[in-house]
Each structure stands twice: as structure tokens, then as C-alpha cells.
């Protein structure tokens, strides 16, 4: 128990084997994306891939990486407040940046047609319609958080490395799914819902997230001290707010009924 915080202060390079594997995987994701973007730029036929999206993709994985490996991840093991800082990075900010990078569009444009076509068919299929429905995504994302903090899962996760990894993978994946379902893009969204429904689900999900943050203040998960719960729950509430407002702004920017036209934000959302 005592060795871990010391290892964290020793420097960023004090990573475990699992963390090194993770860093390599994240680097591979960034390199693959950058290679595909360069390929499109050199190809000449299609429109060049915007550099802004490569930057969004890189920043997204940097946020996820900071939450999963290194000093922040180390402290998050012992301190609920740091865990919540990681939650905001991994479950809220990283997914939004990754969605805005439109990785599926890049794949569809770079892959050979014989692979791109089946991928397109999968995206248009009925099960994908159910999975990418805003309600499904909100239940997986916010419901998952309620299960994590309101059952023994949080305590169990701290004791089991595999469970720990699985929970983090779910938080990132569900966050991505939620941001995509609510924004309805910039990747192709054949099952996109009406903006009013997406807005209603977004408001309900934000309420669910913030009510959970407030209840964590007085009723912390198993094994979390009340001082840590106080800092952690306020961090979840206040640090999450800018990401929530960004989601609202991006949704409104693509909503024609609000009179949103060709504003810079719409271009940022890729549409």
C-alpha cells in the first residue's frame, strides 16, 4: 500500500507492464489514424482529411491515457477524488473528442471497398439501430455509473485487475456511444433520431449524472471515506459541467429549428 504512492511520485516512467501495454495500444490507435489521414491527403482523389480531426483523435487518447496509466491512475486506486478526475477524463472528455474525430468515416474512406461495404451494412443494420439509440446509450452510460457506485462493484474493481480493466473499457465505450447517439454524428448515423428526442435524452442523462454526483456526497460507495466522497462528488458535478455544456452546444449547433445555420460550431462537429 505504501509503495504505490511513492512509485507515482518517482515519475511518469514508473509504469507497470499492463500500463506499458496500454500505452503501446494507444500509440497504435493514434498512429493508425494519422497514417490513414496522411494516406487520404496523398491520395488526391477524395477531399483531404481535416488536420483538426487528427488533433481531436490524439487529444482524446491523451485524455484516456492520462486516466488509465501514470500518476493520476495510480492515485485513483487509493483516492476517490482522483478516481473522479479520471472518470471525467475517461468517461466524458475523451469520448467526446474521439466522437468528433469521426474515426468511422475515416475507416470507410480508407478501407478497400470490399471491406468498407460490409462495414457500412453493419452500421445500417437493425441491431446497430437499437445499440446507437440515445435511450440505449444513456442507459448503458449513466445506468452503468449507478451500478458501479451503488453496488459493491466499485470496491470489487479495486481488488481485481481484470475487473478494473473491464469497468474502464465499459466507461470509455459507453461514453463514446452516448456522445455519438446524442450528437447523431459526425460519423454516418443511419438511425439518427430527431433532435428533440436527442435533446430530451441528453437533459435526462445529465440530470441522472448530477443526481448521482449529489447522492455520492452523503452516501459514498463501499470503502470510500466521507472526505474523499465530498471532493470526488463535487469534482464529478463541476468538472463534468464544461463537457456537458459542450455536448449541449454541439447538439444545438446542428439543430435547424433553432435557426442554427453555417456557424463555426457546426463545422467543428463535422457537418
Amino acid at each position: 500500500m505504501d509503495a504505490a504512492p511513492q512509485a507515482a511520485t518517482a515519475g511518469v516512467l514508473a509504469l507497470s507492464t499492463g500500463e506499458w501495454a496500454l500505452v503501446v495500444a494507444l500509440l497504435a490507435a493514434v498512429c493508425a489514424y494519422a497514417a490513414a489521414a496522411v494516406h487520404l491527403r496523398r491520395g488526391g482523389t477524395a477531399a483531404p482529411w481535416p488536420r483538426r480531426r487528427t488533433a481531436l483523435w490524439t487529444c482524446g487518447w491523451l485524455c484516456a491515457g492520462a486516466a488509465l496509466a501514470g500518476p493520476l491512475a495510480d492515485r485513483a486506486h487509493h483516492d476517490f477524488a482522483w478516481h473522479m478526475a479520471g472518470h471525467v477524463l475517461l468517461g466524458m472528455l475523451a469520448p467526446l473528442l474521439l466522437v468528433l474525430a469521426a474515426p468511422v468515416t475515416l475507416m470507410l474512406r480508407t478501407l478497400p471497398v470490399r471491406w468498407a461495404r460490409p462495414l457500412g451494412r453493419v452500421l445500417a443494420s437493425a441491431p446497430m439501430g437499437v445499440l446507437t439509440h440515445p435511450v440505449t446509450a444513456a442507459v448503458l452510460d449513466i445506468g452503468g455509473l449507478w451500478v458501479l457506485y451503488r453496488t459493491g462493484l466499485y470496491a470489487a474493481m479495486q481488488a481485481d485487475a481484470l475487473l478494473h480493466a473491464a469497468v474502464h473499457a465499459h466507461v470509455l465505450a459507453a461514453g463514446y456511444l452516448f456522445a455519438f447517439a446524442v450528437l447523431g454524428g459526425p460519423d454516418p448515423a443511419p438511425h439518427r433520431c430527431a433532435p428533440a428526442l436527442r435533446a430530451a435524452v441528453l437533459v435526462a442523462a445529465l440530470a441522472g449524472h448530477n443526481v448521482l454526483a449529489k447522492t455520492l456526497y452523503t452516501a459514498p460507495p463501499e470503502g470510500v471515506s466521507s472526505a474523499q466522497a465530498h471532493t470526488g462528488s463535487q469534482l464529478m458535478y463541476y468538472a463534468g459541467a464544461p463537457v456537458e455544456i459542450a455536448l449541449i452546444a454541439l447538439l444545438c449547433a446542428s439543430w435547424p429549428a433553432l435557426g442554427a445555420g453555417r456557424t463555426p460550431l457546426v463545422r467543428a462537429a463535422g457537418r
Binding site: L202, V211, K214
Partner: protein, 165 residues
């Protein structure tokens, strides 16, 4: 100034959009003042109120999530109206006053007094606070409704006039 640029025939439709944007921003403003002034500056309200019931927490959570949404949506609507040169400050202000007044009155009467979710301040004689709170709310609401009626009359007059020509 801006309203002289509004094509008169579109005034009636523009009236509704200006009002809606104003009402949404009014709600957002009240919620923002609650968070910035009463929570962060005065510390009269707390992150977690021990007096809160579960219903209170959920109602507060929904209110705050919707108020952020309303603020952002209102700003986008105002930007859209401005771009179309259809921003009508008097109608927008009518909506703002009505929205702010209505939600402050709802907060002051229903949430504070009927549901007793939380109070304006604790460990003090609460009556003066309640009176000031609700009087301000009522003044905003009445001013908003009056301006609403006035701008609606003007919208109807100008669109009738343009229909006649």
C-alpha cells in the same frame, strides 16, 4: 433600432421566436444566479442539502440540466435571429422577464414553500427573504407579461398592415 430592419410581414412569426428564446434565457439566468450567487458567492445554498428529499434531488437535477440546455439553446436561437436580422429586443426582453419571473416565482412558492425542498437561507428569520424573493419574481413576471402583450399587439398591427398593402 434592430426592429426597423425586420420585414414587417415576418414580424408575427419573429415575435414567437424572439419570445421563446427570451423565456429560455430567462430560465437559464435564474438557474445561473442560483448557482453563482447563492451557492458559490454567498454560500446560503449547499451542494448537498440535508433537508432535501429524493424527490427534491431529482427535481433539482432535472431543473439544472434543463436550465443549461435552455441557456445554450436560447443563445443559438438569438444568434440565428440576429443573422436573419430578425432579432427584436423588446420581444426578446418580454420573454426574458416572463421566463425569469415565472421560474423565480415557481422556485419561491412551489419549491420553497409548498414542497419545502430547501430554503433561501438557514438559521435566520426567513419571512423577509421570502417576501423580497417573491416580490422581485412577481415584478419581473408582470413586467414581462405587459411587454409581451404590447409587442404582440404591435406584431399583429404591422403584419395586418403589410397584408393590406
Amino acid at each position: 433600432m434592430a426592429r426597423t430592419r425586420v420585414p414587417t410581414g415576418e414580424r408575427r412569426a419573429g415575435h414567437g421566436r424572439n419570445l421563446t428564446a427570451g423565456v429560455l434565457l430567462g430560465l437559464g439566468t435564474v438557474a445561473f444566479i442560483d448557482e453563482a450567487v447563492f451557492h458559490q458567492l454567498l454560500h446560503w445554498h449547499h451542494f448537498y442539502d440535508r433537508a432535501s428529499t429524493e424527490v427534491g434531488l431529482v427535481s433539482d437535477g432535472l431543473f439544472h440540466a434543463f436550465s443549461w440546455f435552455a441557456t445554450v439553446a436560447a443563445l443559438f436561437m438569438a444568434a440565428g435571429l440576429h443573422r436573419e436580422r430578425a432579432l427584436w429586443p423588446a420581444a426578446f426582453a418580454a420573454g426574458w422577464l416572463t421566463g425569469a419571473g415565472f421560474f423565480q416565482l415557481y422556485d419561491g412558492i412551489v419549491q420553497h414553500k409548498l414542497l419545502r425542498l430547501h430554503q433561501i437561507r438557514y438559521d435566520v428569520e426567513i419571512l423577509p427573504y421570502d417576501v423580497v424573493w417573491n416580490v422581485i419574481a412577481a415584478v419581473l413576471l408582470v413586467a414581462g407579461i405587459a411587454l409581451w402583450a404590447a409587442t404582440r399587439r404591435r406584431a399583429a398591427r404591422t403584419s395586418d398592415a403589410s397584408a393590406a398593402t
